[in-house]
């Protein structure tokens, strides 16, 4: 996102501290992450220091400071998924992608994230790939889920 585009995006948005998380959500939805340049501009927009903004930003799990890969894989770590075999699915996914949660594969194809509960607990373990929910996932299915995604490019 260029500086001009960023200004456009910020123009319609509030300038109070309470608007901060909403603004960060919008920027992340547009750019996939919050860049240092974005931090600078948002801090100016709200008239707070970059430090202050950084403090809030890093408190929340939702905001990414680095660009993510092309595909986003989220593995649910909720308790119901856990007792239904979610830990095995998670380990398999880490092995398959070769990254730890929060990481992105070197070819920038996949980012792996975890979430504490997605609210479809009765049909877990749940894995979300690019917004599509997969239910009752088994560790054996992980490689085919990823392969399918690779094929889609």
């Amino acid at each position: 996102m260029t500086g001009l585009e960023m200004d456009d995006l910020l123009r319609g948005l509030g300038r109070e501290l309470k608007d901060l998380t909403g603004i960060l959500h919008k920027i992340q939805a547009e750019c996939g992450h919050i860049s240092p340049q974005a931090i600078r501009r948002v801090a100016e927009h709200l008239n707070i220091t970059e430090n202050e903004l950084y403090g809030v930003l890093t408190f929340y799990k939702a905001f990414r400071l680095r660009p993510r890969g092309k595909h986003l894989v989220t593995v649910c770590q909720g308790t119901s998924c856990h007792v239904r075999g979610g830990a095995g699915v998670f380990d398999e996914m880490k092995k398959e992608l070769g990254v730890e949660p929060g990481g992105t594969t070197p070819d920038r194809m996949f980012s792996l994230e975890t979430v504490n509960c997605l609210g479809c607990c009765a049909i877990g373990p749940t894995v979300v790939i690019d917004g599509t929910y997969h239910s009752r996932v088994s560790a054996e299915e992980v490689d085919s889920l990823v392969a399918e995604c690779r094929k889609r490019k």
């Binding site: 809030v56 799990k61 308790t79 479809c120």
Partner: protein, 578 residues
């Protein structure tokens, strides 16, 4: 735009006139579980088939929120009979239209069959999962497309609001809610009427109300389901509450991991604004109130009220000491009343049908119904709404159908990371706030995670500690450092590196964290560990003395099996705890 209370009933009559009920309607459950199981494919197939056969005008298609029985998603219900078909594939749709909708015959292979008895149930209301429930808050889910406010009006929506605004004073509304005996559904069970009274009597220029929809307990998803299936019931409850308390501004703080809930509640709020149910002079009265929706950003601690308010204000969501309570000094220092989604959704019901009716449901000290997420190793997982006072056994065996795959019940976890485990001896416990606390657990927001013999309790305790130590906001030392220490000890035990003294350490740490932490997160975080230490101590011993995980979950121990000598050089003092 509604400018007079009588216009609601007139509107309802007009909708009925303009929209004659079709002879048959297929209702698709399209909540989060439904979508994850393929409901969108079912909807597309239904659309295709209805178009192909030219049945658009004569057969209705309703897309609604969750029907509750997540295990059989994707499912549809055919009205008016209430025939329920589950675990559908798009290929099943032509047969359903041909046989059930056009020829009025049930397709046996698609109806639910009880795995225990083999008996088939064609009608939704006959299925054991639904039979013992008391669906008051979730009753209308089948009839409401959350995209359409008209459906809520048809279900007598916003009539409680009209009654409150025009036939009752604010004090009368509070008295009614108090007399009904409604207690906070977020977990603590504080009497709602009293809470409202505290906030109302504070002298201030501005008061706020908040709907806490930051449902973060893993394994718990009733709040987001209410917001997806019937968002107007929550909004109506909030408007009534704002009137009673004297607030002009409200916030709904929704968890971002529930995107469908964010979407539906935003649509509903915008519709309510357009219809004059939010904004200035609601229904032509002198009462003004509006709602803002705030999306969370993935911090569990925001479910704690002081953190939640810090988050709305745009700050780091760290909790603070109480008092002052939010009723005295809350959002931006003003008196603020926070209730959970399910609590707000109960309010229209109480106002509409009266405290006397409401207070007959439940136990002497816990009134009404409660929605539970019944999940884990249960045969029929889903959301169940039951009257307070129902026995645990009835929920798990009669509604939930018992344990999956012929395994044995070991325990049920209630209350999420703040709660505890109840083993088999508690199966005849009548569920209410006080009984659960007495039994060493808590209601929490209503999660019920059933575990069987293939679940390792030490591993599960570790799982919860991992969660709370990660989600601790970090402000107070007992919680920040203590939960981490407890987690490290538990990791050690699950790796076969534990020692018997660890159990006393866990106990002592747990008890100190509970008394010394600043907010509810830390004060309750050790519960799952202490509860497993109480009820499943022998499993800890198995891990420590015999380097054995009977459930076969702790992998490091599996690879150790057969080795007699412990992997670490630590001295174990056998027999100390016998």
């Amino acid at each position: 735009m509604l400018t007079h209370p009588s216009q609601i009933t007139a509107w309802k009559a007009r909708i009925l006139e303009e929209r004659p009920a079709p002879k048959k309607t297929a209702v698709v459950s399209n909540g989060t579980c439904g979508r994850a199981s393929g409901s969108l494919g079912i909807i597309a197939a239904l659309n295709r088939e209805l178009d192909r056969r030219g049945l658009r005008e004569t057969v209705g298609l309703e897309v609604t929120g969750c029907h509750g029985f997540c295990e059989i998603e994707p499912n549809i219900v055919i009205l008016p009979e209430g025939i329920c078909y589950g675990r559908l594939k798009p290929e099943d749709i032509p047969a359903i239209i041909e046989t059930t909708i056009l020829k009025n015959k049930v397709i046996d292979r698609l109806v639910y069959a009880d795995p225990k008895t083999g008996r088939r149930y064609a009608l939704q209301k006959d299925i054991p999962f639904y039979r013992k429930q008391m669906r008051l808050l979730t009753e209308d889910n089948l009839r409401i497309d959350p995209d359409r406010i008209e459906d809520y009006i048809l279900a007598d929506g916003y009539q409680a609001l009209a009654k409150a605004l025009f036939d009752m004073t604010a004090e009368e509304v509070i008295r009614e809610v108090d007399a009904a005996g409604l207690r906070g559904r977020g977990g603590a069970g504080f009497p709602t009427g009293k809470k409202w009274q505290f906030c109302r009597k504070e002298i201030a220029d501005r008061r706020y109300i908040i709907c806490n929809a930051d449902e973060g307990n893993p394994g718990t998803y009733m709040d987001r389901s209410i917001l997806v299936a019937n968002p107007h019931s929550v909004i109506e409850g909030m408007i009534i509450g704002a009137y009673a308390i004297g607030a002009a501004e409200g916030y709904i703080y929704v968890r971002m991991e529930a995107p469908q809930a964010v979407r539906q509640v935003t649509i509903a709020r915008d519709q309510a604004r357009k219809c004059g149910l939010l904004g200035r002079s609601i229904l032509g009265s002198e009462f003004h109130f509006d709602i803002q929706i705030v999306e969370g950003a993935g911090a569990f601690v925001c479910g704690e009220e002081t953190s939640l308010m810090a988050s709305i204000e745009g700050r780091r969501a760290v909790s603070r000491q109480r008092p002052p309570f939010p009723a005295q000094s809350g959002l931006w220092g003003q008196p603020t009343n926070i209730n959970n989604v399910e609590t707000w959704a109960n309010v229209p019901l109480i106002v509409k049908r009266g405290a006397e009716w409401y207070s007959q449901i439940g136990t002497p000290k816990s009134k009404g119904t409660k929605i539970f997420s019944l999940v884990g190793k249960i045969r029929h997982g889903g959301q169940v709404e039951v009257p307070m006072g129902i026995k645990l056994r009835e929920i798990i065996y009669d509604i939930g159908g018992g344990i999956k795959d012929g395994k044995k019940f070991k325990a049920v976890q209630t209350g999420g990371p703040a709660g505890g485990f109840l083993p088999a001896e508690f199966l005849d416990l009548a569920i209410d706030y006080d009984n659960l606390v007495q039994a060493g657990s808590t209601m929490g927001s209503g999660g019920m995670i059933v575990v069987d013999e293939t679940t390792c309790m030490v591993d599960l305790a570790r799982h919860y500690m991992h969660f709370t130590q990660e989600e601790s906001c970090g402000k107070c030392v007992p919680c920040r450092v203590g939960t981490r220490q407890m987690h490290e000890i538990l990791v050690r035990i699950t790796r076969g590196e534990g020692e018997e003294e660890d159990l006393a350490r866990l106990q002592e740490l747990g008890e100190s964290i509970m008394v010394a932490s600043l907010c509810g997160l830390g004060q309750t975080a050790p519960n799952p560990v202490l509860s497993t230490l109480r009820h499943f101590r022998e499993e800890y011993f198995d891990h420590i003395r015999h380097r054995k995980c009977a459930a076969g979950v702790c992998r490091e121990l599996l690879s150790l099996s057969g080795q007699d000598s412990p992997r670490t050089g630590r001295k174990t003092n056998k027999g100390q705890h016998d």
